[in-house]
């Protein structure tokens, strides 16, 4: 049966989405591993369906500053994908790519920013490629965009985009481990409700 809201998903459907998250994030980790020349693995991927204010608490409070790379998905599926990069993750990337580190987000100049956009873009594209291959669908991605600001405001971007359809935010995604240390960088996919139905039907779990 078609779902009308994210909170109507059955446990089988959520398991399927978690599997998608696992494969997508796993592929992104491999790409990251090649880019950084380090061993990168993923933590247990999550599917979350959260109220707005719950989602803000989950990401770690509204006001903490973070770097977010966003790509918009269109075509057979509509959605937003975010790569939310912590300072720790940023330094891991900058050390490998530019041999430098920063102490605060305000030290990010054009060169560093474009490195972060690139790394976020590769991770997002790899995730989406795995998903579209698995479900046999095709999508278009916009050019990636970076925002360095309060993470609450970054997370409200997918909320506002689908706020007319739902009081919930659904995210599929996971965290990364580099050389056995958790390096916070979340990959979050937020599809709209119609695309979620389409995806589940394509994967054969929607009756």
């Amino acid at each position: 049966m078609e779902i009308k809201n994210y909170n109507e998903l059955t446990s089988l459907e959520i398991d399927t989405l978690r599997e998608i998250g696992s494969i997508g994030t796993g592929n992104a980790a491999s790409a990251l591993s090649v880019m950084l020349g380090r061993n990168v693995r993923i933590t247990l991927p999550e599917v979350r369906i959260m109220g707005y204010n719950e989602a803000i608490e989950w990401i770690g409070g509204p006001e903490a500053i973070t770097a977010g790379v966003m790509v918009r998905i269109s075509g057979q599926m509509t959605g937003i994908m975010l790569a939310v990069q912590s300072l720790e993750f940023i330094n891991l990337a900058l050390r490998s790519m530019l041999s430098e580190e920063i102490h605060d987000y305000d030290e990010l100049q054009d060169l560093e920013r474009s490195a972060l956009v690139e790394i976020g873009n590769i991770m997002i594209s790899t995730f989406i490629n795995a998903l579209t291959g698995l479900a046999d669908i095709s999508v278009d991605l916009t050019v990636p965009s970076l925002s360095v600001d309060m993470q609450g405001a970054i997370l409200t971007v997918p909320m506002a985009e689908y706020g007319g359809q739902s009081d919930y935010l659904m995210t599929i995604g996971g965290n990364f481990m580099c050389d056995n240390q958790v390096v916070p960088c979340r990959l979050l996919l937020s599809p709209d409700v119609r695309s979620l139905n389409f995806l589940l039907r394509k994967l054969g779990v929607l009756e």
């Binding site: 707005y52 204010n53 803000i56 966003m70 600001d149 309060m150 706020g163």
Partner: protein, 164 residues
């Protein structure tokens, strides 16, 4: 009556809270969302709404505070029930930023701008004057509103404090 410490109330997303006489209303990390401060100076009643979208088109229109139109209307109703007069109300607004610059992103980046226009239009329709605003741009804002003075305060990353 015992003196109590001034209250500090947090207004969530798609939420509204009121305070009278003193204390602080605060809402965090307004991106494309807008914080609307409504104030009746005679009775020092302050309301802060955190809306996310411009127009309520939901069936049943349950979640009033998520939208500019129903949020403003319902807040005025609740303020009047607590002794405020609509003719005395003034408004201060903040938010409506564009967090991401997306080429060819359709209306995605414009939610902030649409929110600003809807808030202005709905306030004008209710006959409420906007006495101060800090909207648009590309940065997130945390907004505080003080019932004692009717003053607002905005914090944004990497910027000095702004008085609204």
């Amino acid at each position: 009556m015992m003196n109590q410490a001034p209250q500090k109330l947090t207004v969530g997303i798609a939420d509204m809270k009121m305070l009278q006489w003193d204390g602080e209303l605060i809402t965090f990390a307004l991106g494309s969302c807008i914080g609307i401060c409504l104030y009746d100076p005679n009775v020092k009643l302050a309301a802060l709404i955190h809306i996310m979208l411009p127009i309520n088109m939901e069936a049943g229109r349950k979640n009033t505070m998520k939208y500019a139109d129903t949020g403003i209307r319902e807040t005025i109703r609740q303020m009047e029930a607590r002794g405020a007069r609509k003719a005395r109300l003034t408004a201060k607004i903040a938010g409506g930023a564009k967090m991401f610059e997306i080429a060819g992103g359709g209306n995605l980046g414009n939610i902030g701008q649409r929110n600003i226009e809807s808030v202005r239009m709905n306030l004008r329709r209710e006959g409420i004057r906007i006495v101060s605003e800090n909207v648009g741009g590309t940065v997130a804002r945390t907004l505080s509103f003080f019932p004692a003075t009717g003053q607002g305060q905005i914090r944004a990353y990497g910027q000095p404090l702004i008085v609204l």
